[in-house]
Point group: C2
């Protein structure tokens, strides 16, 4: 057994794949299965283990991917967004650098214990975080930069030839398809060289555009189903979960329903006295315009209580917590969140100042995430697991525990 972040994991006896399907609201599976687009999933839900789990709030990609691979909440691993206000330097910075990761990953521990590990992620922004600490020779690359993957840096070369697909566009369903196809290609290697543990992480390009049951969504899940069936056929234990759900975030006129927090704060406190941080912010804003249902606010200490009350009274705001309350409620690192944490309702998103968002880039009615309303995600294993604890609050970051300890 390996101990990682206070939890113990068995080493794999069968090839094991953990899949994080970005933005996989459970209803995507429901509608795709009902429509006959996921025959493998339908069988697996009936014969394997089917749970709905809570992901981590903020329901964003990076905090949840790191929770899954560390088996721990952000209070332990430190990644609480894509983007943060670095109080030390007084600047707003991306959180992609592995220096922000405070905890070892299960993948690093397994690889250091001699297991062949592989990580394939859709966007390159996650690669360095997910790969941190993995032993030399471990495979870790992104679809986005698959063409430049090499043995020295990524543990694998000639990925396009291996996978048999062209380099996908960063804004495409193909970016995720490449992840699955690469996973199948790696697992199709001879048993002595294929990965023993593999982590696949997709992108939510499709989920930001298509609601459950829409043609675009069903086509995506049909593609996923074929690849999962192939991994199952090879004999893999598969645990599938998601980083977050996804909901429509529109006003009745089809435009985003945005609470522009910085504009309210400037009006109440004076311009620039408070700072709104949107941790969804990343370089890939075309599909969400940096609009999610979670924000943090830095503001003068004497304004915290009154401002929290005023924020909580705004239409569309679900919860306002102080730093300490949020750290406790959502298991967040208190030193990396603002004085207030603000969560909006299911159909509402939070912006900074209206002037700072370009909604013109949105091609379809906004779908996004970040709030408590996107916390429910699938947690599915392709093996039956006996004696599942009733009443346990399952988390997406229990995926490695189920796959390694309970399903082999």
């Amino acid at each position: 057994m390996l101990e990682v972040n206070g939890r113990r994991y068995a080493q794999p006896r069968q090839p094991t794949v953990i899949v994080c399907v970005d933005g996989c609201e459970p209803d995507y599976l429901a509608q795709a299965v009902a429509g006959g687009h996921m025959p493998w999933m339908q069988r697996t839900l009936a014969r394997g283990t089917a749970l709905v789990a809570d992901c981590v709030v903020p329901t964003f990609t990076n905090p949840n991917n790191l929770s899954i691979v560390t088996g721990a909440p952000p209070s332990v691993h430190g990644i609480c967004g894509n983007y943060l206000y670095d109080v030390e330097s007084g600047t707003e910075v991306m959180m992609n650098d592995p220096k922000w990761l405070r905890a070892p990953t299960i993948l690093a521990a397994l690889s250091k214990a001699g297991r062949r590990c592989a990580v394939v992620t859709a966007k390159d922004k996650l690669r360095l975080l997910l790969g941190k600490g993995m032993a030399p020779g471990s495979i870790c690359f992104s679809s986005e930069k698959a063409d430049t993957a090499n043995l020295a840096e990524h543990g694998v070369a000639d990925v396009l030839a291996l996978v048999g697909l062209p380099l996908p566009d960063v804004y495409s369903a193909a970016l995720s398809e490449f992840v699955f196809a690469a996973g199948v290609a790696l697992m199709s290697r001879p048993a002595a060289t294929r990965p023993e543990v593999m982590y696949l992480s997709t992108t939510d390009y499709v989920q930001h555009k298509s609601a459950p049951g829409m043609a675009g969504a069903n086509a995506f899940y049909a593609m996923m189903d074929r690849h999962l069936a192939a991994l199952d056929e090879i004999g893999c234990v598969i645990a599938l979960t998601a980083d977050h759900g996804m909901n429509a975030k529109t006003w009745m006129d089809g435009r985003p329903d945005v609470v522009y927090l910085q504009d309210h704060l400037d009006a109440w406190l004076g311009s620039g006295r408070a700072r709104t941080i949107l941790p969804i912010t990343d370089p890939y804003v075309v599909h969400h315009g940096a609009l999610g249902s979670y924000a943090t606010v830095y503001l003068p200490a004497e304004e915290v209580t009154r401002t929290a009350e005023r924020l909580a009274a705004l239409r569309g705001i679900e919860r306002v917590l102080t730093r300490e309350q949020a750290a406790a409620a959502f298991e967040l690192p208190a030193d990396r969140i603002g004085d207030l944490v603000v969560v909006s309702e299911r159909s509402t998103v939070i912006g900074t100042a209206a002037a700072r968002h370009d909604l013109g880039a949105l091609e379809v009615p906004l779908r996004s995430h970040g709030g408590i309303s996107e916390q429910r995600v699938p947690l599915i294993v392709n093996r039956p697991i006996a004696g599942l604890e009733t009443g346990r609050r399952w988390r997406n970051f229990d995926a490695f525990e189920l796959a390694l300890n309970r399903a082999q």
Copy 2:
């Protein structure tokens, strides 16, 4: 001014139409407008008054239609479901009979004040409740039984000829289309004979089957848009709201995600000691199988506290309230609800005993309502209204106030 249930209403100066769109989750409008299917609605949202309001919990058809026409919550009008346990007689009965209605309607008051009033409802089950107390000569009929409407009983005859459509099937989008077409036909009469106040109430056949943005939903809302545009063209003040929202209620395999309450209660307390009532129950079960997100429970007094705790711990249950708590929280008549009120989460419904539900009748993945998750509904007026109170909690049963007092 007329006073009805403690609120004052101005008499109409322009022909006035209140529309209750059954199951109109606001996102139906958003997706249809974004897709270009509702040009009138798009203009109206920009130029008129666009609010999102809270409907009444339980988010069912009858309680909310009666709230809209009385301007009051169920604690005042007494209609808290389609179906209730009549403690006096010890029987479970439908609540369609007007004897259950405890408050006068605004329509009755207006008609008695000499105003020409009309009610057109999709299903006949609502007709007698909505028409209660209306002055002789008032129009009140259903699409479902339009072929038998007559002057003596319904205030209008030859409805099929008037509307120019065949009698629609009770399970169809056409049942609601007939409501709109009848409304336009009535308002197209000469000014001296057309209704001065008209209430139109549709059925949620389409919304139970199609998610927002689906082709079936968009076609329905396009149809509605054409008829609303026609009423607007005639010069009507139009206030549009809904009785409740609508959500997918499925497990990941596409089947209904049901908490079978009676089975739990029988296991905990002994068979038959508690009685689960599903107030969604009505004779038209094909589209929801009597599965909604709200139930009440009658049980021995000594079991209430412990049972409430056990119910609240069940997966998928959002809130469990005692009779007194529920009466206060949801403004319900305490004498017509059970000892406990149970509300399930957005994607979960409540059943009685598994053996008592026939899920085979469901043709598509379940969509239903009843819970707090279906409380948000549109409240739209085709006139700008100045000085709207900020911070006011708008209700669907403010529709008559907005239309009569603020928009003329």
